[in-house]
Symmetry: C2
Subunit: 463 residues, 2 copies
Amino acid sequence: MKKLTIKDLYKDYKSFENKQVSLEGWIRTVRDSKTFGFIELNDGSYFKNIQIVISDKLDNFKDLVKLTISSSIKVTGTLVITENSKQPFEIQATNIEVFNLSDSDYPLQKKRHTFEYLRTVAHLRPRTNTFNAIFRIRSVAAFAIHEYFQNNGYVYVHTPIITCADCEGSAEMFKLTTMDLEKPLPKNEDGTTDFSNDLFGKEAYITGSGQLHGETFAASFGKIYTFGPTLRSENSNTKTHANEFWMIEPEISFCDLEQLMDIEEDCLKYIVEKVLERCPEEINFCDQFIEKGLKEKLNKLLNSSFVRIDHKDVIDILKKADRKWEFEPDYGEDLAKEHEKYITEYFNGPVFVKNWPKDIKSYYMKLNSDGKTVAAVDLEVPGAGEIMGGSQREEDYDTLVKLMEAKGIKTEPLWWYLDLRRYGSNVHSGFGLGFERLLMYLTGMENIRDVIPYPRTPKNCEF
Amino acid sequence: MKKLTIKDLYKDYKSFENKQVSLEGWIRTVRDSKTFGFIELNDGSYFKNIQIVISDKLDNFKDLVKLTISSSIKVTGTLVITENSKQPFEIQATNIEVFNLSDSDYPLQKKRHTFEYLRTVAHLRPRTNTFNAIFRIRSVAAFAIHEYFQNNGYVYVHTPIITCADCEGSAEMFKLTTMDLEKPLPKNEDGTTDFSNDLFGKEAYITGSGQLHGETFAASFGKIYTFGPTLRSENSNTKTHANEFWMIEPEISFCDLEQLMDIEEDCLKYIVEKVLERCPEEINFCDQFIEKGLKEKLNKLLNSSFVRIDHKDVIDILKKADRKWEFEPDYGEDLAKEHEKYITEYFNGPVFVKNWPKDIKSYYMKLNSDGKTVAAVDLEVPGAGEIMGGSQREEDYDTLVKLMEAKGIKTEPLWWYLDLRRYGSNVHSGFGLGFERLLMYLTGMENIRDVIPYPRTPKNCEF
């Protein structure tokens, strides 16, 4: 028989009225007077606790009132509807079995802890309301993403994370090795390090993107997406950088920049809609305690039509703005955080900024007919800045080679990527969605360390 | 307006009868006589091609008949039902636009290529029927796994892949570094390598399992699963080993070994059922060309009840068997491939082998009351051997510490894992499902390199 969970009971408590039920879970609080008491129990299935009523008729009543926070127990009792109380029902316990009495030095006592402190007990923090909400939203959002792409005919591709093609420049890539780093590394005659006895027989890295491999599969399946961890070795200690994060990279054949924006908008709205629908308790909690107005912000996004505007027109607006910038807006430059903020406030909603100066964008982006801009697009959302970055890809072989050469990208290791322009090339586009940035937007959390189960940042790799 | 795909047409071609439709895709074959011809078109949305009829009434007919394999085109034409033909309908083209004429050296000509050869063109092989089937099944199976766990109340956890806790022994772990490997590595006074300026300030690895981190989240959410890439640095060149693969690791609180087996069986049947349901064309193809009898095998699994038997009883059966073993069965040893094969044939179906000698299993597995065996379970399936490996976890603090010490595992770096036994410990269990091994079982593919988009194996890290 399927075990009952707290979620099952909240979903349909009326059908359990006056029936005997059993639950296993962890104690959140115990309150007692002389002859009776209340236990708040959580089993992880649902954001809310369930109230257990205990009385001195229970043999072990005296032990029960001494139960510590996070002790694990099994409760058997009768479900009673309590219409005029805070909670719609409670369990009147007839038997409570204690599995494990939590040690009294349990670090999460009933008081507010700072997020900084909670990072030092990352193995326990999902037991707090805040992180229980955050990590359930993380799970629900991840599944919504899979659902969106699968329902729309995309094929999920596991692109490799190990690479030997140093195609992005190794600056941001971790090196991967099986060599003994305690001993001097073997050398070639010319003095360079000899990797021939390393596992892959040459230098290996962890790739920072699955896009290029993704494109090869899009050239077969039409529409694909990746969703996996991404490692970047930036030595950057900010609220929005982590060295390990998850990314979604869809790639679509026979799709231009305008169609790509349609997809991005549709995709983001689907995720927001499903999170609102499936995590109402968690979103309410975040709205109350993490970011006031969160729910309104998300609902507003659902009902807005995203603005589409060229980068140069954004710069025009910024230049005309009656304010002093820390970074002066420039037609040849990226947008600073302050610009992103201004432009989403200016349009009072999400903004696609498109057609960027080619010099500040990647080599694989489609060169526009002006010869100066590329068909790239960043989606800026109110309160979170850039959340998606995409582009039409250059599909012409000769133009792509020229763009690569101009940016100092070696063509030889990317022969397979270039092959796509020789065998059935087509107008195609893709985007990257940083999963943690999305989560920060969905929950209101301001530090990326607080939306990742075990964050990895420079000098920080605990647990 | 949503673009039409070949899948849309196959799903509901009758409603498009005699209507004008447009499709974009790649040419699989062209056949022609003087005044008309046929193009087999595929757009990646569906396993089957669509037949396009071209005639010399088209302005560019003479160019069309010369179109090379994999050229990309846009077809506009009328859908005509062809009831007595091989295909239920065809498109009579009124216009064909050629996007890109594929170079004539396209490596996949219309003949059979060996799987070995196709690995050298891994960027193109999903365009073949075989790999189109394999990688679509991969995507569908991955989503079915997410669906199964999400529908059953599990929380998806992204456990970290970077670790500094050398808890599994670094033998099978890749080292990760940002240090310059061309220069001599900095040294401490005692002669050991100084990692203080490496990104994390100490030695870092890629972890080979998310289980321990997964357990911490199960102790909060009750039921969790991981699904992500796993790197292991084994220098092993076999048909079943890759250095990068994907793994699913569910972890369930308040769950003993018997309940775990219920979940494993239920989960595997769900995946098989969904793949059969959602990939009928692909499974038929694999049944015909990869493994004869595949469909029957999968259907049989759905209708079987998995046997549960102790390791020692398996050894009894093996010892009594009237055959000569390469490896003699032994009560204290693991099962060899030949034993796995025999036992699934003996029971004519999947077999859970449980309660293994503690010396050959991991430290975290629950010590049984006999003091000699642990509550571990391997699922053996006909034709693929071990496909899932799981165990009840040791939940008693003191016993776990003793087991760790006996196996030479340092307890200090795992303080957080041990904490779970101090704060609300409970009977809990989990298993690991190797995604590629599952795919080999689902498709009949015999080499792991042929179920991974870009396989990474010793001395092999192309693309």
